[in-house]
Subunit: 215 residues, 2 copies
């Protein structure tokens, strides 16, 4: 092997190693999905708000399989204030669940409770107003706990388990680490870390942002 | 020394050690001050917005010595939208500076630039509307970079220097770590970590919250 061959070999190795490092880093990155306030409705509450037998009007598919944003919006109202144009997400669920920002809770005048979707026991109720009527719920208003949707295969790759909480790290000038991020691993999920608008803005994370898990 | 004396001695030592640990921890804690959107006006812009020779009306002292919230509010307006009731802070400054939330920048349609107070070169302009007129600024709209006000004595105690950036840690269910927090140490300061409403809400920090510096 002459000198130029040796140089070429070294260069090739350096390039391959750089590509491998890049791939390794990319495989650890998780895309961020930013959630603004929204509402999931039961069929019964949908009927009360939009009329008997109402069907939701799909407007835009969301990243989680089968989930979509609807044309329908509602007003939510607490003891201190109201918030208009709260987007309804479909499909309908067994129980109505309102997901708001921490700042919204001050405006509405209700306590902010960070909860995982579906864990509604002891959460505040709220008045929901639609074009055909209103509903007074007794529970179901939450600030969504930060969470990462993933498949069981993703979970294995990241070395985490469904139900576990992890910390996540964001780079950039407003970066940092969020603790208590729940892992939600099941076959109906697409890999995405869900933060609410305030959490995303606080770390300067837009819709193309990526985070990594730190343990 | 009999047995009961020995037990009493051990108990006393345990209590003293616990008190010392508590004091040590408390001395490391820094109170959080939450800033919502606000504006600092030059006398010239104050004249244009509220009338020639207008004096600001003090409403409430702020934690930083000499700073106060005023009765006066303005509307700010960008290419995509307007935000009403933006609180004016006093006293007047040499240059007008508008401090908004990252989310406000989307609403206004201007880029969000995290900057320290006074570092306005290259920041966006905005239209400001008051009861007696409006002003079109060419720069001065910022998202305040997270920062900690302290005296030089505080800085020495924490082992940090004016101008340095540190990370801060918050506990609680929504806790975590924010990077790039600027230290602003001078004799005109009171110890307080300034976060904006989105940053405080994202970590569940209210007005009685405390953070610690991590290096």
């Amino acid at each position: 092997m002459d000198k130029s061959e040796a140089v070429l070999k070294l260069l090739l190795e350096a390039v391959q190693s750089s590509i491998a490092r890049q791939a390794q880093q990319e495989s650890n990155e998780i895309p961020v999905g930013v959630s603004n306030r929204h509402i999931h409705l039961s069929q019964s509450d949908l009927n009360s708000l939009f009329g008997e037998g109402c069907q939701l009007t799909k407007m835009k598919e969301l990243s989680q399989p089968g989930q979509y944003a609807c044309k329908e919006t509602v007003t939510i109202c607490g003891p201190k204030g109201a918030i208009e144009k709260v987007r309804v997400l479909g499909p309908v669920r067994s129980k109505t669940q309102v997901e708001v920002l921490t700042g919204d809770c001050f405006k509405l005048g209700v306590p902010a409770q960070a909860r995982l979707s579906g864990e509604l026991t002891g959460t505040p109720g709220i008045t929901i107003i639609g074009p055909k009527g209103s509903v007074q719920t007794t529970e179901g208003l939450i600030v969504a706990q930060r969470h990462i949707h993933m498949t069981p295969a993703d979970a294995q790759r990241f070395g985490v388990a469904d139900g576990q909480t992890v910390s996540i790290k964001a780079g950039g000038p407003k970066g940092g680490i969020y603790s208590n991020v729940a892992v939600r691993a099941n076959d109906a999920s697409a890999l995405e870390c869900h933060l609410d608008t305030e959490e995303a803005n606080a770390m300067g994370l837009g819709s193309s942002a990526k985070i990594t898990i730190v343990k």
